[in-house]
Amino acid sequence: MNNDSNHLRRIFVITLVLSVAADLLYWFLVGPHVPPGRMTSTASDNQWDFNVLMVIALPVLIGVWVFLGYTIANWSTKRANVPEPKGGPAARSNMKAQVLWIAITTVVVLFLAGFGTFELIVGNGSGGGEGPNPVWEPSGAAQAETAALTSSASWAPGKVLVVQVIAQQWKFTYRYPQFGGFETPELILPNNTTVAFNLTSLDVIHSFWAYQLEVKADANPQENNVAFTTTKQLGNFTVRCSELCGLWHGAMFDYGKVETQSNFTNWASTTETANAANTADLPAFAWTYVPDANGAAGGYYPDGTVTPYSSVETYGAKQAAS
């Protein structure tokens, strides 16, 4: 089947040339600009991960497209002199082609799974939600998380910063347990610092997506969900809710800032002092909070005869009724 190998060789060569060209163009021209940039360790890690996948994906796309293009160009009835196709066993199966195809796809798939797992572990969860007890965490995170629950927790440059993200319809607020547990609508982070985001929600499921930081994790009511990243650059970043949370989901966004470590310390200490009175009204810092019986966004039972669901202290209960 001399003719056969000619077709396949031509398809292979075209695919190879186009793939190498596309991969090189992608890697050097597009790759460095792929979102979400390089503001944090997870952002640059996941950008690299995305680019590796793309370099593998492009030849697959090109291979199939070249094949389809080649068939259309050569074997359409519109072209004169298309030979009559042959039926029979040779056209029905080809053991070599089948084994080769299955082998190649299997190797690629297993490599991808291994690569993804490696990146996930090395990246300490890659900025994704790791549940209440993270299996992969940066060094010092466990100690900082444990210490956060004690009122004497403190932060100094080099230590892991614990930030609690409290989501509710339709805003995010942030508690800094290492600074007395004050709560603020501002998200300010120190540069070159590993941050442990602890997410929880007071009502429905939200998702905290700090876009440039490459952190994304669901905020679930009465669950703690932890995600890690390490800041690498100064600048502003966007926070959006990426899990449908009701009426104003589309408007649930705000902005945060990565500041120098000294600026951050100044800001945090000032805010801690300024908020001391409010902080005293908040429930003690905890990973999760039981919502007030009235709910953060209106009562579940609207008939006015509400009793608290739980005997424990509820979030918002200490605050004066508005």
Partner: protein, 656 residues
Amino acid sequence: MTISAERPTISVDTNASPPSSRQKVSWTQRPGWLSQHLGTAIIAAVLGYVFGHWLGNYITSSYPYIANSGQNAASNALALTFGVVGWLLGIGALNYPLAKLVGKEPVHEPSVEGWSKYFRYTLDHKVVGLQYVVGVLLFLFTGGLLAMAIRTELLSPTTHVFGPGTYIEIVSEHGTIMMMMATSIIIGPLGNYFVPLMIGSRRMAFPRIEAFSFWIFIAGYGVIFSALPYGGFPTGWTGYAPLQTQAGPGMISYLLGFAVIGLGMMAAGFNIAATIINYRAPGMTWSRVPIFVWAILSTAALLTLATPTLFAAGLFGVLDKTVQTAFYVTEHGGSSYLWENLFWFFGHPEVYIMALPGFGIVAEILPVFTRKPLFAYKIAAAGMVGVALLSFFVWQHHLFQSGINPDMRPLFMLTTELISIPTGFIFLVGMGTLYRAKIRFEVPMLFAMAVFFNFLIGGVTGVFLSDVPVNVTVHGGFFVLSHFHYTIMGGLLFAFMAGLYYWLPKMTGRMMNKKLGQWHFWTMFVFFNLTFFPMFIIGLLGQPRRVFTYAKNLTILNDFSSISAFLLGFSFLIFFANLMWSMYIKPEKAPANPWDSLGLEWQTANPIPEYNFERIPVIMTDPYHYSEVGAPAVADLGLAGSGAKASSSTSPSKSS
């Protein structure tokens, strides 16, 4: 071989008198208006709704009302339930089981002649198939209009056409309607119509269950849209709790709607699986079953096994909202994680319920238009079964960032990526079949080729989503939205169109207009890609799903996508114009076998008699012997005068 001697023949007595009124004829099949049909179903549904509402208010007066609505949840749920029961009673779906229940012998059910049979509960799978065609197009049309509304709102990040509440209603209805439609878009119309014809059967195994599945599917459409007067539901098609628990009365319509459609899906899957397993003609061994039937069988298995989870999950939600159980209420010991797990445990097999029939159609059509046998038939069948099996082990990839089972993420990453191996089989089969073929680019073939193009993009981006680190970037954004539109719309819907253009000549005896068909294809293909490809970039640039406002720098991309979407909507108008033109305005009679297919379904008489085959065919071989000299005929149809066609030197002797 003495098979043919024992084969029964259906004798059609053309002189038989029409059933007189003195003979007992079922209410569903009586001629005229004094019978059960769509009209009585609507009346009974309304009566059932009113009765249920009254009953609910009566037995649960002074019981918890839904927050901020003045509605009684129990009364809403009962109203919809009784509405559906009334609908089924009215159409006559319950006549037979009720008669059996009270010990009455079921009455004779001859098919009604004429067009009015399409408005009745009928036992002919070919009628049900055509009913489904109209049904799914109705779903598609309404879902598509809602999509146009979404893209209109997203034209500008700051100027709003709809309020946020209306917008969420539209998004949720669009998702739910489209997902429900997509579960049945191929298995309903084409599966019901062609599976018996392709396996050489005279009927479905459970024709009553089959008809039931269609009529309850339509009831589900009504139930879902009943959310609109109640203010819709704010959860999208995924219905996550506790937003679900918090939502207004429209949520009941969503939960019950899924339960109702779920009943139909289970019924449809059960019937089709039983038919394929038990009703194959003699000689139709598993290695001769057409590949489309393999796809439908794997889909039917998924429908039967995965849907019960959805059904139960939906009913738990209804209980939470009506009688204050706490399946999903965290404060009372339930869990919002429970819904996520149950929903996706159904939801991921569901995704393959929407992919496999498309693979089946493409693999079935390719040999016809390439004049080559299907390449690697066994690999194709194995691929479909493999996808179906693996699809039960991947559901948590929807929950990678949720905090559920974080240490299991590598496993779910592996299982998800493993699915691309059997999916890759389908590409091997397609490319092998195209290799050194002689391709006729008729309209169905154009759509089939487009499936390969679109599904490749959908599949490859799926690998990006399955990679946990990259998933952090793309989860919950427009990237994933684009990905599943590429697989479901680019794969399934294009395959459905291929199937419609391919098989409508057999179903209706009329050819679709080729010129309009080409216009439809090219506009749909081009504008589909122009609508959804930019969404990958929009997603990477940080736009979450289901938002009514977005970053200003994404305006140009969003506008580009919106305008393409309007033109994509226009391509469907071309399709409807073609449908009207070719079927009603200027019908052109279709030849008996317009595409020169070897498939058994094309060898039946035209129009197809009610019992499909005068004699049960004996299957000689698989239907893919294209371009093969001296190949055996696919089947011995046992017809007088057709012996020359059916027999050849290679076929087994059929003389008795």
